[in-house]
Symmetry: C2
Subunit: 459 residues, 2 copies
């Protein structure tokens, strides 16, 4: 027979079983964390009509889209979860209650040039709160708490949530009469971390933007404001009274900071950072980035912000909202690459492997049934192999316990159970085995999928 | 602004939030049920190279495929989870341990003519056990137990797992010297339920197949064997000794039936059914179908079987296996359509809605944080609305409890909590509220997503 070489497309993540268990565990913890904040799960099609996905207009996105026709229909694969959300809310508006809080974890597609750590198919994990006409600022203040608790649940410790408010930036540029240049300035300021303040000042004064020395200095003074949250807010207060939008942004930022401790966010995981702008048109209020302290080069692992009009391309309803997104596939790639995946997790397909040693398999099968009824993941191994091969299989799949049922055990109504980590073996009642395995499951129940290098205590 | 009418493509399921919660709960229970049997979760790309997906050759499937080019690459969306599994096992063979047991729940794509209850994008929920060279019959005997426990966990009661063995059929047709006509005969026999025995006999004797009266009678005699499992096996034993393959199939079927009770499958949920054939080339041993007793017209809701060569189009390794598949999207559609979704489930996005009644929101935020730390899904509602509108929102999202924090409560260090189902309201400590809400969560924890009409007791 002519054979086709099996292959997986480049830019598409396909994990081996142990890694998949860790990835799935991360998704499960995200679902749980988002649910604790009252977000409801949503699922939308991966394929949409191209005219619907492109309602906002093309640009870079359009070039990267997977677009094709089927019959007479012009179809595209979604490139994010925000456009489908806008469509969903506009389409089902009458059936939804606002504020509408949803999370969605799903695959999106972008035909980027494939390179290490870049994916063409990847999971995004998004939450959004959508208001009908209005949306209270407390929703923006709650987001850092969601980010903090989500990453903490995953096992990450050394990260920081960085927050700014677009109204502060826009108001400030209005003060300087630079509103028409604001977009260009923000793109330049965004390079601060990479090229330093002197080069930023130079770029701002170059022909293309053409600021005066005074304006450039004013901008660098603002974005150089550093210190504790209190110190930054206090410095910003010095600009009050000169622009209404600035003052409103500062009020909002102050509210976000003030409620941090009630929301349970430790101050050391949070910073006001005036250099953060997050794109140009879409966001209108609080903006968020999250960085790993030991890997700033990775960029933001969770970003988002407040916007005023989710679905203006589909409906005349004003739908303001706030949302954040985690690029889960890339995050997982980085975590694995940097040695952050926790090898204390049980990634075996089962908690116990049952090896029958008798002709009649009924007692072993009944034992498996009992374990499963007790919530224990039990695999029955009945292949005709040598004992050594069976134990080698148990070892390879990483199962914590092997349960043997030989003639003696069956006669005694007992099982022999081997702890694969210690090598200890004992013959005990089936109930005893259930208790033993359950205690091991309980011990590992809270093992987080992420473990930072050099953090031995943390499970 | 010119607006694009929002729409979702026909043939693509998009659920409202309450229904999505029920769908997600079904997926969660499937993951849990499959895991109990030692299956590991797998995820493969939705897009594959067309030549890889089409390695087996085209036919009906090819016409339905979503196929397109991106750059120079000929791509297709997967149309099932079996071909990607075959590719995965062939590609990662050296890294896997056999038997390899995986489950996969994911979307697949078929460009069928859209009609009510037919979907172009739909979830399949598959399990497969893949052996390396050989695979023990006990794996086939275990499948009915997985089907039984999975549907029981979902809340279904009145269903039956129907089992046959292809070796019995092939052996029987060999006895009658009809091997070359076996495929044609099986397609005809498959119509028994619809057209009855007389018409089947007529079709078998018609020119196209051209059986003798005697052969047609023999076939009808075999497939008309009915009764308890013991009675059917006993009748089949009467054919023993005439064909080796038949005898082997009967041995296998006997093994499957014999281990049923050890696997915990009640006899009334299982039947040997000699009319089941499940396609023609692929399956080689035990075959399975599952029918809803009160809705036989829906056809099988979970099917599969034993095959000898999973990945022959990709590798010269012999990889026998056994697997089953649930068409989850269609099943969900049918369940909803027939009134099988359990309205006792809590489909609200939260367990408690927190309504602050004070200027300073810190106490309400702190209360929300406490609830969340106790594992309670808590939504904070801070929109500027009239009290009546807030309560109407609580009612619409179906939240079980509303927690109020007014000046009095804050002063007393208490909360007022309203049970939305009884209308009862009380002022208690926050700890008391936590206990109350947790007990309601515990009460509903085992509410199944499916509830059969006329089955009031069952939760």
């Amino acid at each position: 027979m002519a054979r086709q070489k099996p292959r997986t497309l480049s830019g598409f993540m396909e994990l081996l079983p142990e890694k998949q268990v860790q990835f799935d565990r991360m998704m499960e913890l995200l679902r749980r964390s988002y649910s604790l904040y009252g977000f409801t799960p949503l699922d939308t099609p991966i394929i949409e009509a191209s005219e619907v996905l492109l309602a906002k207009g093309g640009g870079e996105t359009e070039k990267q889209m997977y677009r094709f026709t089927k019959g007479d229909t012009d179809l595209s694969l979604r490139f994010d979860l925000t456009v489908p959300l806008a469509k969903y809310v506009a389409l089902h508006y009458a059936d939804l209650s606002f504020p509408f809080r949803r999370f969605q974890i799903g695959k999106v597609y972008r035909g980027e040039r494939a390179q290490r750590g870049r994916f063409r198919e990847f999971y995004q994990a998004d939450i959004d709160v959508i208001g009908d006409g209005k949306l209270d600022i407390v929703n923006e203040a709650e987001i850092p708490s969601i980010i903090y608790n989500t990453f903490t649940a995953l096992g990450l410790r050394r990260f920081q949530i960085r927050v700014n408010n677009r109204k502060i930036l826009n108001g400030f540029y209005a003060m300087l009469d630079l509103t028409d240049k604001a977009a260009h300035i923000m793109r330049t300021v965004d390079k601060l971390d990479k090229i330093g303040p002197d080069q930023v000042r130079q770029l701002l004064m170059d022909e293309e933007i053409g600021l005066t020395q005074k304006s450039a200095d004013e901008i660098l003074t603002l974005i150089s404001i550093k210190g504790s949250n209190g110190e930054v807010l206090s410095a910003l207060n010095g600009y009050r009274g000169r622009n209404e939008m600035f003052d409103q942004g500062l009020d909002e930022l102050t509210t976000v900071v003030n409620y941090l401790s009630a929301f349970g966010v430790p101050e050391d995981h949070f910073a006001v950072d005036l250099t953060i702008a997050r794109g140009l048109d879409y966001y209108t209020g609080t903006v968020y980035e999250t960085t790993m302290l030991d890997h700033p080069e990775i960029g933001s692992i969770c970003s988002g912000g407040r916007y005023d009009n989710l679905a203006e391309y589909y409906t005349d309803k004003q739908l303001p909202g706030v949302g954040i997104s985690i690029g889960l596939t890339r995050l997982f790639f980085v975590l694995e690459d940097q040695g952050y995946l926790n090898n204390q997790m049980n990634t075996a397909p089962a908690d116990a492997l049952i090896l029958p040693m008798t002709e009649d398999l009924a007692p072993a099968i009944a034992a498996a049934t009992t374990l499963r009824q007790a919530g224990i993941r039990a695999q029955l191994y009945t292949e005709q192999k040598k004992f050594k091969q069976k134990m080698s299989y148990a070892d390879k799949i990483g199962v914590p316990y092997v349960v043997f049922l030989g003639e003696d055990e069956v006669r005694q109504g007992a099982v022999s159970i081997k702890d694969m980590s210690t090598g200890e073996q004992q013959t005990i009642s089936l109930d005893g085995a259930v208790t033993l395995i359950q205690s091991e499951i309980a011990r590992r129940a809270n093992v987080a999928p992420i473990r930072e290098p050099g953090d031995p205590a943390h499970t």
